[in-house]
Amino acid sequence: MKAIKTLALATAVSALAMAAQADTKIGMITTLSGGGAGLGVDVRDGFMLAIEKAGRDDIEVVIEDDQRKPETAVQLADQMIQSEKVDIMTGIIWSNLAMAVVPAATAQGVFYLSPNAGPSALAGKRCHENYFNVAWQNDNLHEAAGAYASAEGFKNTFILAPNYPAGKDALTGYKRMYKGDLAGEIYTKLGQTDYAAEIAQIRASGADSVFFFLPGGMGISFLKQYADSGVDLPVVGPAFSFDQGILQAVGAAALGVKNTSQWNKDLDNAANAEFVAGFQEKYGRLPSLYASQGYDTANLILSALEKADVSDKDAFRAALEAAEFASVRGEFKFGPNHHPIQNIYVREVIKEGEVFTNKIIATGLEMRGDAYAAECKM
């Protein structure tokens, strides 16, 4: 009995000691199981790579799996804020989950740094001083695709996206920068896997190019079926359907496709070279843009912690706003609504040895902010 008491005491003391040691607690809620797990795994791995490199033992990261379910994410967030007492939260991949979690978290004084989702509402009317987006506003990559299509002289594009808020944002973003006509505009079912009917419509429409936003498995299905259909119009899309995680599953069907991204592994800067080499060494695979976003998010937090303690919220916020960290994207700064101002590049899918990957061929938009900053009153 006495032995057990001593053990309990020892555990309690060591727990206290650990709590005393970790003065910054970061809560990460991301998708680690179910259909979209590849994205969450990449964000987590990129994030943890940066934290481990920094070698700071005063930072504790709590990681939880939201299973891509908004209600689970909300529960986890409550638990992290109320009982774990985290200072900073991050990790959410999907816009609908971000909308469910972020406003409540920032209202309770927690800093939230988004490594992926950038819904327009959080960039505009519902922006918050404690909310930072380290990836992009949702429209950005689509805007760059529209700009590229115009620059290439496409005059009659067929566009399609799933019928849900991010899909509508995508087509809106594309049309904002695209100057030509539309040969057709289709909203597909979210999660649809067969695109034979849409491809037949594309073939019959007389379009000169195709733009599509179909993230994850939907994009894999579309591209394979498109390549097999014999329609050979040029295809443009955002990076989400061409990231490192899914390119191998698409295979040769994606070769030559142009896609837009704020990052690529061949961006020539020291931080990126270190990141790409470090990620490959630690995890044995090439990093994706999601991994780069996780890595940048962690480095932004680390840079701010160098300057200010997280308990001094105003100083810490100012340190985040300054964004003085070596981003793997090269030049990076925050706009007035805490969303990135950055270059969006155009990449082409190529084959390097046995691996399908991307290379940068042009800059789609230079130092692009977002269309909603004016609506944000902080």
Partner: protein
């Protein structure tokens, strides 16, 4: 809209329907013969696709991949039946739903554990890739034609199996009266395992065939499972014929609906809202069809009166 485009869309609908039939056939047999609601049927579809992708990656042969998908899904089905499902026949439907839902989670996370979180690569073999010209000038992918052919052959074989063979007689008898057939000396538990494995093999084949033109990833089975349930409700539970007719109906309704509804609304709405409203209504169309069928024939098109 030209006649050719409509014909091409009809082919697309037919191909989708035939694929649904492969899923629905096993589901309707298991439901009809054993009275079991098997939510894990989609997991067996996923097992087939992953087995095919793994074998195609190792050997490069698409035929071997198809064989592997049949074998892996049938084996997984038989193991699951003996280990779990067998205990559920006498329970009520809620217990069955709970247990088979647990199986979905186990299969999904098990697959992720073995193959990782990223989608696998499985492609159409060279000799089936690319489009062919059909009479009338339709350019149609050869692979999709092959799926239609395989589906129709499987359907014919199933009809033959059910109507003409001894096993078929036992299956039909088991459907009608399970105590009586047991009393006649048929080993009912072996029969159940066989039916379950057969249904699983068909689901696995569907997964492999479709995996080549879609993405082979964890959770790929569940959306198809929902459609397969719609098919067997429309067709009548337990009826292979009903499954075939229901599957083709659902395939055609879904495909033609999503093509023509937005254009129909485009006649009197502005383009942006027409596409949006049309797409939303199109995704409801098969459920509306199901409701209409149930209104007229409460036990489905070919459902028994029991």
């Amino acid at each position: 809209m030209s006649i050719l485009l409509i014909l091409e869309q009809v082919l697309n609908g037919l191909q989708f329907g035939v694929m649904l039939f492969l899923m629905a056939a096993g589901l309707t047999l298991v439901f009809g013969v054993m009275g079991l609601i098997n939510l894990a049927h989609g997991a067996l579809y996923m097992v087939g696709a992953f087995a095919a992708a793994a074998v195609a990656g190792l050997t490069g042969s698409f035929l071997l991949a198809l064989v592997a998908s049949l074998a892996a899904a049938a084996a997984a089905g038989a193991i699951v039946e003996v280990a779990v499902i067998r205990r559920l026949y006498d329970r009520d439907h809620l217990d069955q739903v709970l247990a088979t839902f647990a199986l979905i989670l186990i299969f999904s996370e098990g697959t992720r554990w073995i193959f990782g979180s990223f989608p696998l690569f499985l492609d159409v073999p060279d000799y089936l890739s690319g489009p062919v010209s059909l009479p009338g000038g339709i350019e149609y992918p050869l692979y999709r034609l092959t799926i239609i052919a395989i589906g129709l052959v499987v359907a014919a074989a199933l009809f033959w199996l059910i109507a003409r063979t001894r096993i078929g007689i036992q299956i039909r008898a088991g459907e009608a009266d399970r105590e009586m057939i047991a009393a006649l000396g048929v080993d009912i538990s072996k029969l159940y395992t066989l039916v379950f494995a057969l249904g699983a093999a068909l689901a696995g084949l569907a997964g492999a065939l479709v995996g080549a033109i879609q993405s082979v990833q964890v959770g790929m089975g569940e959306p198809v499972l929902i459609l397969a349930f719609v098919v067997i409700v429309i067709g009548g539970i337990g009826s292979i014929k009903g499954a075939l007719v229901g599957a083709v109906l659902v395939g055609l309704t879904d495909t033609l609906g999503k093509v023509f509804l937005p254009q129909f609304f485009g006649l009197f709405l502005e383009p942006a809202s027409a596409t949006s409203v049309g797409a939303s209504l199109a995704s409801m169309l098969i459920y509306i069809l199901m409701a209409l069928v149930l209104l007229v024939r409460p036990s489905g098109l070919y459902g028994g009166s029991t």
